[in-house]
């Protein structure tokens, strides 16, 4: 006698405890094995690209905050770089360092969330998440000190940052860096070699590098597959050509490697922040620009940064007006989702959640 099984279709999301926001995947299961996957997007679609066409160049900075709301600084940076390319201006060196520094702090915060939720999805009852949030909270405090907001920072402007850091920011940053070393070591003790985490993630949902590249995957996911492609190294922007750091790469591109790469990137970001503190010199933090900027008609720019999720690009086209004629956002989260089918089919329900978590998407950026 053969046991007959029947495929069962389940909507995972948009209301599900661990789909990173309003992400919905329609999955067909055979028992607990995944047979078919179809991501359904658009639950957080706010039309950022259309909104950007009606706002002037500085106002769009506030829109970029809301793309990937766990790494608003990096979004600001990408957008400002694109506008600067468009206008042909260059920010003063102090602004470059401040941007680099805040972007790296934001990368730490974003990766901490990614790591915390990754382990949360593995089933840890909130403890690693709470520890990562504890450290992230300190970073957000630093941001509040810099610019008065914690998540929607709007810190950077085309031509620099909105204002120099206050005097008490630097001792606070030092204090944070010192404390964070210990917190990070604690986190690594708790997670990095934990056997349960190992058996759950090692060898699960591997992503070969050729597939990764063909699917335009970028960021930690690409590097976990063993491709050391980092825009901070390849096309250094702001002050990244002045600092020294390594690029962590994985070997097999499985869930563990993606997790491991993120933890190591936090360490490298710490290195960059320390170098920025050493190298930064007094000076203006913003170019004297008019409030309302205008680019030459027909000018185009594609500004890209290595955001915490991958390559974040802004493709701006100007028609000479005060707002961009077209503002295309190349969002890493959306394009990283291309590999969903590759990652999920053939694995189990429990692995599905973890694999999705290891890609680290953010719905604000996927749907825009």
């Amino acid at each position: 006698m053969t046991i007959r099984t029947e495929p069962m279709t389940v909507n995972v999301g948009p209301q599900h405890p661990s789909t990173h926001g309003v992400f919905r995947v329609r999955i067909t299961f055979d028992g607990e094995d995944i047979v078919e996957v179809e991501p359904v997007l658009g639950y957080l679609h706010r039309g950022t690209e259309k909104l950007a066409e009606e706002r002037n160049y500085v106002q769009i900075v506030t829109l970029t905050d809301r793309l990937d709301y766990t790494s608003s600084m990096i979004n600001n940076q990408a957008y400002c770089l694109a506008v600067e390319q468009l206008l042909g201006i260059e920010p003063p060196p102090r602004a470059k360092y401040l941007r680099t520094l805040t972007a790296e702090l934001q990368r730490i915060a974003s990766h901490l969330i990614a790591v915390g939720f990754f382990v949360q999805e593995l089933g840890a009852f909130g403890t690693p998440l709470m520890y990562t949030f504890r450290s992230r909270e300190r970073i957000l405090d630093l941001f509040e000190m810099l610019c008065g907001a914690r998540i929607t920072v709007s810190y950077m402007r085309p031509g620099g940052v909105f204002a120099d850091a206050p005097d008490d920011f630097w001792p606070a940053l030092d204090q944070f860096l010192n404390d964070f070393e210990g917190e990070l070591a604690e986190l690594e003790d708790l997670l990095l070699n934990n056997e349960i985490l190992m058996v759950r993630t090692r060898g699960v949902s591997p992503l070969p590098p050729d597939v990764a590249i063909n699917c335009s995957v970028s960021g930690p996911v690409l590097r976990a597959s063993g491709v050391n492609w980092d825009w901070r190294k390849m096309a250094p922007y702001d002050a990244y050509d002045q600092v020294d750091f390594d690029v962590p790469i994985g070997s097999s591109g499985d869930n563990y490697d993606r997790f491991w790469v993120r933890v190591q990137e936090v360490r490298q970001s710490l290195r960059i922040v320390r170098q920025c503190i050493e190298q930064i010199e007094p000076g203006p933090a913003r170019l004297e620009l008019p409030l309302v900027l205008r680019a030459a008609p027909g000018a185009e720019a594609y500004g890209r940064v290595e955001a915490s999720k991958g390559e974040l690009g802004f493709f701006l086209v100007s028609d000479g007006g005060i707002s961009p004629y077209r503002c295309k956002i190349r969002s890493p989260s959306l394009i990283n989702l291309t590999i969903t089918e590759h990652l999920l089919i053939g694995w189990k329900l429990a692995d599905m959640i973890v694999s999705l978590g290891s890609v680290d998407i953010n719905m604000g950026e996927v749907d825009r």
Binding site: G313, R326, L334, T338
Partner: protein
């Protein structure tokens, strides 16, 4: 570090394999005929000297008179970038061949362009709306929407 291939350079190399495809070029980009996009894409990826394995972004711009598709490409092994563009005419049912067969990464972006800009890609395996629901009237990113 990264070098950006100039449009003239790229056009020169593309002409060897696909003489009819290249329409125009300037110092940053090369314009190709819309019908030959997927052929050009294949040539760009498979030519060992160009080796554009990585598609950064597919964008569509509505210039009212025509739509323009912009492909930002990167070669990971050769470390250079290039921009390939194509003008698509017609507002009723503009179509262009899909490059999903060459770069899987174009999947969601082409669906998004169809959804928001209304350019249909032929040969795409799943040409459905992505952000908006099926049955939504119009394509919001067009300049004549609203």
């Amino acid at each position: 570090m990264l070098t950006a291939l100039s449009g003239a350079d790229l056009a020169q190399r593309l002409r060897d394999t696909l003489p009819d495809a290249v329409l125009d070029w300037n110092d940053s980009a090369v314009w190709v005929a819309p019908d030959s996009i997927s052929a050009v894409a294949g040539a760009l990826r498979d030519n060992p000297e160009l080796d554009f394995q990585f598609l950064n972004a597919v964008s569509a711009v509505d210039f009212v008179a025509h739509f323009e598709l912009v492909y930002h490409l990167t070669s990971i092994s050769k470390r250079h970038t290039a921009v390939v563009r194509s003008r698509v005419y017609g507002r009723e049912e503009p179509t262009a061949p899909s490059v999903v067969g060459v770069w899987r990464g174009a999947d969601f972006q082409e669906r998004e362009i169809w959804d928001l800009m209304g350019i249909r890609f032929t040969g795409h395996p799943n040409m459905k709306r992505i952000m908006l629901w099926e049955g939504f009237d119009g394509h919001p990113l067009r300049k004549d929407f609203l």
